[in-house]
């Protein structure tokens, strides 16, 4: 792949050997191929794995679990279970109705947007697998701890009353077990769907990366937002909370910030604040949660994300 990028830059485009433009273009071509290959492969594998954990199954597993163990399981299942934010409310009601504690339900709801497969791939491709793993570990920890705290706060009074009164119709599940072949087909469709939605953001991210790689000095932001500035993390989170984007959309910004010398902890905190705390999702959740609980939720998440930011700045 490296030699292919090299060939395009110097033989097809005929750029001057060793020039900044040539460097930037070579970096762009190489990274684009590498990251799209990783994205397609990993999203495909994850889609197959996820097809074994439909939410109905997750609900069954969690309904027999106590708090703590339940929180840990819920966080992992939140990553494994596919759902979009428009399903947050029916999931919440379904879980509560099945007798799953509120805190455990929150662990599940937090983990899913927090640990995003596209973000994991991009972090892996651009910064290495250690950082990708750290991101997963941090997301799971926040989901587990956030859920435990919310559980301890006895927040049932801040859940809309009707949620506890819903009597489900006991409708028969007639979704047949999928054959492996069917899983493959739908995983391929899902992968194409995700790639269609994110490819432009990814190309922009790599483009910014390639450009900055060649031109902008590395320590541009380091003076203001490096690891030694104690305010970098809270400021990054404060900027990230009102912004909302999916993980792929925020990656170009993340990449630019990091290349210009912002510390990794601050950058990851910014990214988590953007993806995990979103106004649209709060508005959707308002249908089942009273404002006080939404406030508690946002507060706990913000604190947890700031803590993760500091932690990463300390160890890296």
């Amino acid at each position: 792949m490296k030699s292919f990028a090299h060939y395009v830059v110097y033989s097809v485009l005929n750029l001057q050997e060793g020039s900044r433009l040539a460097d930037a273009v070579e970096f762009f071509i190489y990274d684009t191929i590498k990251i799209f290959f990783l994205l397609a492969l990993i999203i495909f594998v994850i889609s197959i794995l996820r097809s074994y954990f439909p939410p109905e199954r997750t609900k069954r597993i969690l309904s027999h679990k106590k708090e703590f163990i339940g929180n840990i399981l819920a966080a992992f299942l939140g990553v494994a279970t596919p759902f979009c934010s428009c399903s947050a409310v029916p999931l919440f009601i379904g879980f509560v109705e099945a007798g799953i504690p509120i805190g455990v339900t929150f662990s599940f709801l937090i983990a899913s947007p927090m640990v995003n497969e596209v973000a994991v791939v991009l972090l892996w491709g651009m910064f290495g697998w250690k950082i990708a793993l750290l991101y997963i570990a941090a997301g799971l920890s926040i989901a587990i701890i956030g859920g435990i705290i919310i559980g301890k706060l006895k927040v049932e009074k801040w859940v809309e009353e009707y949620v506890f009164k819903i009597q489900s119709l006991q409708i028969q599940q007639d979704t047949a077990r999928q054959q492996f072949r069917e899983r493959l087909v739908s995983a391929r469709a899902g992968t194409v769907d995700i790639l269609k939605r994110v490819w432009l953001f990814v190309v922009i991210a790599i483009g910014i990366g390639g450009f900055i790689h060649g031109y902008v000095p590395q320590d541009f932001l380091a003076r203001y937002a490096g690891a030694d500035n104690p305010f970098a993390v809270p400021v990054a989170v404060a900027m990230g909370v009102p912004l909302y984007s999916n993980a792929a959309g925020v990656i170009p910004i993340v990449y630019a910030l990091m290349e210009k010398g912002m510390s990794l902890g601050s950058v990851l905190a910014f990214m988590m604040a953007v993806t995990a705390l979103s106004l649209p999702e709060m508005i959707i959740l308002r249908k089942v949660l009273k404002l006080q609980l939404i406030g508690v939720f946002v507060g706990i998440m913000t604190m947890a994300i700031i803590a993760v930011g500091y932690l990463f700045n300390m160890i890296l």
Partner: protein, 80 residues
């Protein structure tokens, strides 16, 4: 024959509704497709992830990725 498509109105739910209507037409059935958009009502039907498809009181599909048109025809056809 009673067919319900359940979803609050996101893009996937609309696609699902259109697909279901097309499927009914192509199968030559005279069933009406009811759209359920109220979130509490969706949850009451036992649907956890949207969009959901219920045919004759049985949950045939829920969530993403969406089934293909062929699959929808099969799901509805199995209840004829």
């Amino acid at each position: 024959m009673e067919i319900k498509v359940l979803g609050p109105g996101c893009a996937n739910c609309q696609t699902m509704e259109e697909m279901t209507k097309t499927a009914v037409q192509e199968l030559g059935l005279s069933a009406s497709v009811e759209k359920v958009t109220d979130i509490a009502e969706i949850a009451r039907h036992g649907i956890l992830t949207t969009p959901g498809l219920i045919v004759n009181g049985k949950i045939k599909h829920s969530g993403k990725p969406l089934p293909t048109l062929e699959k929808v025809k099969e799901l509805i056809g199995s209840e004829v």
